[in-house]
Each structure stands twice: as structure tokens, then as C-alpha cells.
Symmetry: C2
Subunit: 592 residues, 2 copies
């Protein structure tokens, strides 16, 4: 026969690790079966119920109230346990057992005092509850400090605003909900101890970063900087703000020779810009987009990995291939890239790609690959995150499988009958928004005996543009529209009946660029649309990332962790303003 007793402390603040320790200490007391110590959020009440710890007739508690529950063998044991609360809280005081060697005497009560008193501390760690976090981070930024924002439950609007303000001041905001980073050899948040080295990491994923860093260390290589961005950084709203700054920093960092970029699936509109910035670093960048099909295996200096472990392996492999002195300065805005000779100087965001394929799986792979390289993208292939294309006319970047059922009922497959494709090439070429037309040419038995011959004339007309041949071009001058670019991937063997070399030659003579791999075709597009130019230099100071000291606001645990790493750290004895009273806070905010 067990009994449940509880105590509510309204508006009481304690950091969540203190609560966890109190719970653990209570549960170990004589006669106590189980204990729960939580802020009384809805989820926590459900979890208490699941552990048979929810007091009956509990009402009027909210997320700012501390709820302490014990289930004990007897009423006496329960009462004795509750009577121990204050003693246990003061005994543990936030220490989780790390030997925090450098607990400093200076423990200011406010961030303001800490900022003023520690001008050398260029980094502020923020782990206060989410609803206070933006305000604390803003104060740090306005005092010219970089921010590691561990707190979650920060709104996306607040995130956008904090990152905008930070960027303007040449500062970095890692987070919100940033779990880990290693800056200047110091682990922030949750971080593995890794040897220093030449691989830089940028990650919108905490355990992604930790998995890759740990494996790189296990493989014998090391980390220069590991920068967390917060999981939403590559969302449409945040638009890669921190990621772009971090890539730019690592591009200039002479210690970084290989970069790993880790993210959950990014917003497609954001991905192209981030990949352009990655190209602009001119360093090998291994890209791991967990949970998505990688767009391709390699794109100039970018390598796409299919798992976290694969990303680490590739980075270490590339490091072995790099010259040790790699002090190339990254691309400047407007600079033509020097070490990727195939990159076109015309790379820009104008005009659209139009793909007109006869092979469904070729079209699928191209769509898959372009998904993160150009936006907005549409197709008739039903790819996740890619819009459905209209059959009649293309809008934006469009990839069509002309062998799909909607095009082939009652007519032969486009591998035999190029009529539909010829008409569509002409249609796309006459659309002024078309910049590049992509085609496939599939040879072999059963296919048309001369497919290149069928397409050559319409390709030439598309490449030369409407003015060609009529004499109008020279008269009309620059207002006459010039042609589009046409690129073709040829699938076939040198034994196929069409004569592979002859087919390629006909296409080239018509003005098309010809590739033998889908990867080559995709790189052709990327060279034109994913410019190797960083749109906004980060203006971050490299020395801020060398050897760091910190101010910690929030979980005392993180102070201890930094002290255990023998890092200079000032802990702020932060408490919610106005004792957590929201009405009072609002009044204070109005006054301030």
C-alpha cells in the first residue's frame, strides 16, 4: 500500500538539472518508491501520470510552478521525504559530478555585470528557459559578444531578428536549440573531446555534429572548428544565416583544409545559396543532408555523403589528398572561381532550366539532383518537395518525363517518336524565361535509328535563337533575343546500332553540350545556376575563434563543464526577471 504526497512551489525557478538531481535524491530516500520533480507543464503532468506519480485533485498549476511528488511506502515516509527538499537542493546545487576545478569567485547576479566585468569573454552561453532566452541573447549581441544559444522554445521570428542583428555586428549566433559546438578547442554544450586538426564542421544537427566529429577523431584526424547553427537555420525563414557565416569563416580559416556541412533536409530555396557558398570556399566540402537522397556524388569541390559515417570517412580521405599548406583565399564577390575551371562565369539566378527527357529514371535522377540546386523546381515525377509541373507550359525550373503515361497514350514512346519532344523543345526555346534545355538521348536496339538526327535541327534553332538565319539579329541589335543553351546526356554503348560517336558529333555540331553521365549534366546546370560566389561575407574575426573565454547564463552544469575543460568562464547567477511574475515583467519591460 503506497501513498502519494506532493508540494507545489509557485513561481519557483531552478534550473532543470537541479530538479533532476533533486528527483534522483528523493527517490533514493528510505521508504520512497519513486519521485518526480518537474515544472508543471502539460507534458510533464502526463509523464508523471505514466509513472503513477500524478497527485489526485491537482489543479491550478502551470508551467511556472515547481511540482514535487513522492510515492512512498507510508504517509510518514512521504512527509519525511518532502521535508528534506531544501536540504537536498542546497547540497547538490547543480553539480552533476564533474570536477569543476576553476569555480571562480566572480559570480555576478546579472549578465550586464558579467559583460562589463569580463571584456575578454567574447562568448556568451545562454541556457535559460526559452521564453527569456531571446532577451538574454540580444543583450549579449548588443554588447558585441558571440552567442551559443542552447535554449529551445525561441520563436523563429526571434531567431531571424537575433541573427540579423548579429550579422550586422560581425557576430555569430549558434542556435537556438544548439546542442553542441567546439570553438578554439573548447566544447560548448554537449561536445566530444576531439584532437585539434584540419577539418571544420558546420552543422544544423547536434548529434550529427557529434557523430561526425567523434568518428573523425577515431580515424586519426582532428577538428579545427565545429560550429552548430541550430536546427532551423536552413529553414526558409532563417535562410541559412549562421551557416553562411560559418562557411565563410572556415573558408578564410587557414587551419581548416576540409569542411563538413551537416543538415537535416534544407528548404530547397535555401539549399542552393548554401551550396553556392560551399563552392565559394574553394575547399573540399563534404555535404551530408540526413534523411534525403543526396543530389549526386560530387559537384566540383562538393562531395555528397549518404550517411554521417560516410561524411566523416570522406572528409578524412579528402584531407589525406589535400596539400598541407592550403592558404588559398576563398572567392570574393564578383570573383571568377579559379580552381574549378569548368565553372561558368555566367553563373547567376536568371532564367530557368527546362528538362525534356525520354527516360523516366534519368528524369528522376536529374530532378532529385536539382532539387537542392535550383528553385522553384517542378516536375511530373512525383518527387517529394518538388511541385507538380503543368503539362502544357513550363513555369520556373521544370523537368518533364515525356515518356510518362500522360504523354504516351496512343503514341509511341519518345525513344522512338521524337515528334512531341521536338515540338516541346521549340516551345521552351521560344519562352524568354528559358536559359538551359536538358535532354537525354537513349541509343540501342529498339530505339530510333538516328535520334540525334531527329533532334539536331530543332536543337540548332534553339541554340541560335529566333534571330538567326533571318538576318534580323544584326539589324535589331541587343533587343533581339539570343538562343538558349542545350545539354544532352547520351546513354548508349559503342556497340549500339546508331554509332555512338556519330550521334555525339551530330549533337555537338548542332550546338549542344554532350555528356556521358547524369552527373555531368547536373554539373553543367550547377555551373550556370549555383554560382561559386558567397553572397555576403561574414565579417567574423578569426581570432575570436582561437582561444575562447565565456560567460555562462543558465544551466550551472555548463559552467562546470567549461571549468573542467580549464576554460575561463564566468557564471551569471541568473533568475527570471521579477521572480518569474509575468505581469511584473511586462511592467518592467515598459519602464526599461
Amino acid at each position: 500500500m503506497s501513498t502519494i504526497a506532493h508540494e507545489i512551489r509557485r513561481g519557483a525557478y531552478a534550473d532543470s538539472i537541479v530538479l533532476m538531481q533533486l528527483q534522483s535524491s528523493l527517490a533514493q530516500l528510505e521508504g520512497v518508491d519513486d519521485a518526480g520533480v518537474v515544472m508543471a507543464t502539460e507534458v510533464n503532468l502526463e509523464l508523471l501520470a505514466a509513472s503513477r506519480l500524478l497527485p489526485e485533485a491537482l489543479s491550478g498549476v502551470g508551467p511556472d510552478d515547481l511540482l514535487i511528488v513522492v510515492r512512498a511506502e507510508s504517509d510518514d515516509a512521504a512527509a519525511a521525504a518532502l521535508a528534506e527538499i531544501d536540504r537536498l537542493m542546497s547540497r547538490d546545487a547543480g553539480s552533476l559530478g564533474f570536477s569543476g576545478s576553476g569555480t571562480a569567485a566572480f559570480r555576478p547576479k546579472s549578465l550586464r555585470t558579467a559583460l562589463d566585468g569580463s571584456p575578454q569573454a567574447r562568448w556568451v552561453l545562454v541556457s535559460v528557459p526559452g521564453r527569456y532566452a531571446a532577451q538574454v541573447a540580444r543583450e549579449a549581441i548588443r554588447a558585441d559578444r558571440h552567442v551559443f544559444l542552447y535554449s529551445d522554445n525561441v520563436t523563429i521570428d526571434q531567431e531571424v531578428e537575433l541573427k540579423r542583428e548579429a550579422r550586422e555586428r560581425g557576430l555569430l549566433v549558434m542556435g537556438p536549440d544548439c546542442g553542441t559546438a567546439t570553438i578554439g578547442g573548447v566544447g560548448l554544450g554537449f561536445a566530444n573531446r576531439v584532437q585539434p586538426g584540419a577539418i571544420g564542421i558546420v552543422a544544423a544537427s547536434g548529434t550529427g555534429l557529434q557523430s561526425v566529429a567523434s568518428r573523425i577523431d577515431a580515424l586519426g584526424a582532428g577538428i579545427s572548428q565545429a560550429i552548430g547553427t541550430g536546427g532551423r537555420d536552413l529553414s526558409q525563414a532563417v535562410a541559412g544565416a549562421t551557416t553562411l557565416q560559418a562557411l565563410d569563416l572556415l573558408a578564410y580559416d587557414p587551419a581548416t583544409r576540409v569542411i563538413v556541412l551537416i543538415s537535416k533536409p534544407p528548404a530547397p530555396e535555401v539549399a542552393a545559396g548554401v551550396l553556392a557558398a560551399a563552392r565559394a570556399t574553394r575547399k573540399p566540402v563534404v555535404v551530408s543532408l540526413s534523411g534525403t537522397a543526396p543530389p549526386l556524388e560530387k559537384l566540383s569541390n562538393l562531395w555528397f555523403a549518404q550517411s554521417l559515417e560516410g561524411a566523416a570517412d570522406r572528409a578524412v580521405e579528402l584531407l589525406g589528398l589535400q596539400p598541407t599548406a592550403s592558404h588559398v583565399s576563398p572567392a570574393q564577390p564578383g570573383d571568377a572561381p579559379k580552381d574549378s575551371p569548368k565553372a561558368s562565369p555566367r553563373a547567376s539566378n536568371t532564367g530557368f532550366v527546362r528538362g525534356l527527357f525520354s527516360g523516366g529514371t534519368v528524369a528522376l535522377e536529374v530532378t532529385q539532383a536539382l532539387r537542392f540546386l535550383v528553385a522553384p523546381l517542378a516536375s511530373n515525377l512525383g518527387v517529394d518537395g518538388v511541385a507538380d509541373a503543368s503539362i502544357e507550359a513550363s513555369i520556373g525550373h521544370t523537368i518533364l518525363d515525356l515518356g510518362a503515361d500522360e504523354f504516351t497514350v496512343g503514341r509511341p514512346h519518345p525513344m522512338i517518336d521524337s515528334d512531341l519532344r521536338q515540338r516541346r523543345i521549340s516551345q521552351e526555346a521560344s519562352d524568354p524565361s528559358t536559359r538551359v534545355i536538358l535532354l537525354d538521348l537513349v541509343l540501342g536496339d529498339g530505339a530510333h535509328p538516328n535520334p540525334a538526327g531527329e533532334l539536331a535541327q530543332v536543337i540548332r534553332a534553339a541554340v541560335e535563337g529566333p534571330g538567326a538565319g533571318s538576318g534580323a539579329r544584326s539589324d535589331a541589335g541587343s533587343c533581339e533575343r539570343s538562343g538558349v543553351e542545350v545539354a544532352v546526356v547520351v546513354i548508349g554503348t559503342d556497340k549500339d546500332p546508331q554509332n555512338l560517336d556519330g550521334q555525339v558529333e551530330q549533337l555537338q555540331q548542332a550546338g549542344a553540350a554532350v555528356f556521358r553521365t547524369i552527373g555531368g549534366l547536373v554539373e553543367f546546370v550547377a555551373d550556370r545556376f549555383v554560382g561559386a560566389v558567397s553572397p555576403l561575407p561574414s565579417r567574423l574575426e578569426l581570432e575570436d575563434f582561437d582561444s575562447i573565454s565565456c560567460i555562462n547564463v543558465g544551466l550551472e552544469h555548463f559552467h562546470d563543464s567549461l571549468a573542467a575543460q580549464e576554460v575561463g568562464v564566468v557564471h551569471v547567477e541568473w533568475r527570471p526577471p521579477a521572480g518569474g511574475n509575468e505581469r511584473l515583467q511586462a511592467i518592467l519591460a515598459k519602464m526599461g
Copy 2:
């Protein structure tokens, strides 16, 4: 000033290539601007309209009616063009320009006659319009022939039924909508000419097969058999019927030393069975699932490629690593696999996996990997094609990120606070449907100082089961439930403050299997759930795939293509039954 004239031939049948050639010939006539020759389907009428070829006041035409349209400079030119139709049709007669050297004298009017007259022809190619295709294929199967079914618009019910009947007779149905195959060195449908070699291909994707075969050829290797399955073969309804037969065939085929398996995203329920069959071949199998994130890089003898080109490259690389004499017979039903020593003999479909992770990206990668290995799978990670898991209790295979917001509001992250995870481990262990519990353990600064110590007791209790320790096990005998298996991936370095080796040791002493990579953890699951046993042997005769001869029903073009390859082929002068008249067909069907 142009004019449009048209002619309707109701119920007229001509194969689609004949129509295409007629259109092309009409368009080349003097005074003709453009021409359209189509079966009057809705889509074709739209396409005519887009080309300004749709006659005004056209009504009462349907998909069985042939519509011939010309747009000409004058009424006279249009009339002259229409008058040429019959002459042009008889001139071109279905030849696309291949030099069909072996046009045989034997051109039966019915498939029945062809079957009776060509007992050596073990293959029937069917390319008649979709609504007649199932009937023709069924006739071929019942006459003990393999079928290459090029026709599309065959219903999925018909496909299931045809494949069921074929399997029972030890026959293969490739298709419907099967574009390509290379059997015994002969290209069927659209096929590249590739050198013979030791790589076998099974593909639910036409251009996927052609791309891979062409690249393998370009890399200097060759193809044993390339088997198309039709694009729907890995759907839930068809359940990989042809793919499973094909894998089994290639497993026994002594000429095949490496296998490539190509598909668009399969139905998750089907994927596990197909991958199990692939493991059972005991040959290296390269798996390319276009358009999906590959589950992992390698799983015993399976290699997952991230593109078609990558699949070809990997296959050729693996071929170089294979001994040339590879006459290992594949696994028999009930056989324990001999060449994958880590595979558990307990592999079966009973019980479920329950993953309880503290790291979100680790949980994501595990979910991603298991998506095609176990079903039904649920998670709280929002992965495409994976159901949303209930937070309270697991159903089926379930992967939970316990660091997700719904679990962490008002409590520390599970990397610090293992309370929630301990409770959930106990909960899963006491669920009789749980067979394996997966965990991660993330070390490093900021994490719990002894996370293995926190979990060891609850892991031991889970592994030993409810009977352990109480003495009840030996008394209660077999009705006492035994424990579950626990596997942990440890993320950390040997410099982390928790002592990596000590953490691993504590976990192992508690009875857990410990891995340093996510891939290792996934392989642990696969060994238990993706049994390396082929559920149904195909019973296909290898000699039918050696040197083939064919009967062709449908597009004469395919007859010509086979003849050009110097293959014995009989062309059936097929016409729709009852002249395409549906009422008459129904009456005939009732009589027959």
C-alpha cells in the same frame, strides 16, 4: 492563310509506329505545314490543339478511331495530302529504317498458330494496346512461354494475376510497361548492345537499367542477364513477384558474379522481403533505389548506391574483387547463411524493434535505414513514408527521439537526464511484442558523467527478462517470458571525460551489444529481421535464358529490331479481335 483538313477512320487499327511514320511522311509533302496522325484519345486531342492541328467541329471520335489531320497552305494541298494516306501507309509498313535482315516467311495471323508452329520460341514479346495485352500475355503463359510485356495500361489486378500464374508454371513475366531487357545476349524492347559479362541486373526501371548497363559496358565489364520487372513490381500489390524470381535466377546462374538491383522507391512492406532475397543470393548485390535516401552504405553482401552511375561503378569495382570461379549455390530455405558469419540464425519476422534515442540525428539515420528493412515502422521524426509514433506506447517497429520537444519541455535533455529513458526501456521490455531495444549513448563534455552507469541496471533487467533474479524462471519453465536484446551505439572519443572503454564495458557487462557506428547498429537489426533466406524459389530454367528465340505480338518494329540482332523471331500479324468492336468482342468472349 492556312487550312486544316482531316479524315477519321473509325475502328482502324495500326501500330503506333506506323502512325508516327505516316504523320512524318504527310508533313513532308509539298504545301503541307504540319500533320497529326493519332488515335483520338483525349490527350492526343489536346496535343493536336497545342500544335494548332485540332479540326473545328470534331465530335463523336474516341480512342479506337484513327484521326488524320493536315494543316496546309491551301485547300488543294490539304486534299492532295489526305489522298496520299493509303499509298504512304503501305510504303512505310512499320519499318523504321533498321535493316531487318531475317524477315521470315512465317507470319501467322494469330498467336495460337505462332505458339504451335514455334515450339523452340520460349519467349513472347507483347506490345499490343494495353486493353488487349493481358489476354495475349495469358495465352502465352498458358502455352508455357516467358513473357516480355512492353504494353502499358495493364491493370494492377491483371499484373498480379499474370505473375501468379506464371510463377506457378516456372515462368517469368517482365512488365507490364517493361521497356528493356537483355536475355541471353539479346536486347528486348529498347536495349543497349553490351558485351557479355558477369554482372546481372534486375530493374523496375527501364532507363535505370539502360544507364547502368551502358556504363558497365563503358567501364569494360559486361552483362550476364538484365531483367526488367515493370515499374510496379515492388508495389504493395505485386509484392516483388518478378524481382524475387529474377534474384533467385541470378543467384543460381553461374555466369553472374555480381548483381545490380534497381528500383524507384519500393513499398516498405515489400522492400524487406526483396532485400532478404538479395542477401540470400550470397553474391554481392548493389542496390540503387532512385529518389530515396539509401538506408545505409553496406549491409553484409548488399551495397547501397546513391545514383545509377554510382551503382555501375560499384558493381564493376566489386566484380574486380570477386574470385572468377564463383559457383556457390545460394541459400536454401531454412539454410543458415554460411558466408555472412554475423547473420543470426534467429532471423525472422516476429517481434519488433524499439529504438529509444537521445540524439535526434542518430534516431533519424536509424529510422531512414530501417525504413526499407522492417515494417510497419513508426517514429516521431517526421520521415516520409514512416508513420507517426504514439508517444505513450509503441506499436510495431518504433524509433523515438527522446530529445524531441514533446519529451523535453521543462526537463533536461536525455543526454543529461536518463530518467525518462530508463522508464521507457522498462516499459518496452515488459511489452511482449518487443524483441530488440536500440539505444544511443553520447559521451563528451556536457553529457552525463556516467551515462552507461545510469542505464546498466535497466538494460540488465531488460536482457534477463522478468523471470530473472526471482528464481521464477526455472520453476515456470517455458511459459516464462525471456528477455529482449539490447544494442547500443556509443558516440564519443577516447579523450572524452567519461572514459570510452569503461562505458562500453559497463554496457557489455549489462548484456548489451555495443557498436561504434550507426551502420553496425542497423546491421544488428537486419541480421535479426531481414533473414537471408529466399522465401520462394523461382523454379526458372536457366537454359531458357541462354540463347533465346521469340514470338513478337504487337509493334512490328520490335520484330525488326530482333531480326537485326540475328535472333530467331516470328511476327504475329495481330489485329484487335472483332476488328476492335467492343460489343462484338464481348460476345466472342462469352462464346469462347
